[in-house]
């Protein structure tokens, strides 16, 4: 892969890939592998991009489809994510809280089914029901109901953790 392609076509959308990959992995090592694989598959599939959708939507699709069908076994017990936990002396109160909350939210998201994870990630990225339905390939009418259910489930998981 040319570094130009990575810099111009992938790196500006790295946020999308990072957010999705993190929802499908339990450890930093798996996350790095997933991220690399998504970048590799975006590069390999770039000639299939027909500009029928935005590049960012297309990156979502590839990232999601790759995450759904990767072969690597998740390592559940070792090397948990630590990237959001800065050393205590470097954190401010709010900073630490928001990171911890994000970690808890991710933990809760990982407890969902793989399709539900995809739906809630797209919802949190402020994609419309129509866009979510297009990316996943389903009926937009059912997305709203499913999002409500997922949010209730996430809230229960988060309440259980916080309390």
């Amino acid at each position: 892969m040319s570094s130009d392609f990575y810099k111009t076509s992938i790196l500006p959308f790295a946020g999308i890939i990072i957010k999705l990959c993190r929802a499908y992995t339990n450890s930093q090592e798996d996350f790095d592998d997933y991220y690399q694989e998504v970048c590799l598959q975006i590069w390999r599939s770039k000639d299939n991009f027909r500009e029928e959708s935005q590049w960012s939507t297309w990156v979502y699709r590839i990232s999601l489809n790759v995450c759904l069908t990767l072969l690597k076994k998740n390592k559940k017990k070792d090397q948990y994510f630590v990237s959001d936990s800065l050393p205590i002396e470097e954190t401010e109160e709010n900073y630490a809280f928001s990171n911890e909350a994000l970690n808890l939210l991710y933990d809760a998201i990982r407890k969902l089914s793989e399709i539900d994870r995809a739906i809630i990630m797209l919802y949190l990225e402020e994609k419309s029901q129509k866009e979510i339905a297009e990316i996943i390939g389903t009926n937009p009418n059912n997305i709203g109901v499913r999002v409500k259910r997922i949010k209730i489930r996430l809230k229960k998981i988060l309440d259980g953790k916080i309390n």
Partner: protein, 218 residues
Amino acid sequence: MEKSIENIWKEGFLKSDALVAPKINNLYNQKSIHVIDKFKSMFKINLIAIIAFSFIFLIISFFAGIPITGVIFFVTLAVLVFINKKLLNNLAKIDLGASSYQYLKAFNQWKNKQIAINIKISRFLYPIIFLSMILGFWFKDAEGMPLGERLVNEVLKGFPDIYLIYGIPVVGIVIALLILVLLAFFGDRIYKWDLNIVYGRVFKKLEELMTDIENLRS
């Protein structure tokens, strides 16, 4: 105040370094862990191994005096490779940029087609291999006469009343037929067992994903 998940999400990414991309080096040369790439590489390795094995066996069979076995082996495995090569070409057509449903459906369809074809092949493959070995050794030269005939002559010395069809003991025909039927019957199971060891987890995951999306579509 209790935060909504939307706020946790937004603030989490605003205030933290959670969106720093990991460093990637020499990406293209790294080993792919994607299921389609794995299938492609597994298929390619298998096909090359089959071609190499059938060719080496063909040469050995001529030296070993069982060319019939070698030729049948070679032709059968060549057909197997040809069919699977065609299947492999279809795998490359799956569009990763399609919607998840279309993508998973296309991959699932390819997988089912590939399994169905190879199950049919394996029902014939193992019996043909067994038959080729019988024929090869039957017609192998044994001091001026086929080994099979020599063997029957030896058997007839011990059991002169044995019933023959076209010069072959009925017991031998029955046993050979029984083995052929068993191989045909268990051929698909052997193939499925083999496939399940390598890809069982992925196939199960794929089925679950498909069921989930289809429920969402209905």
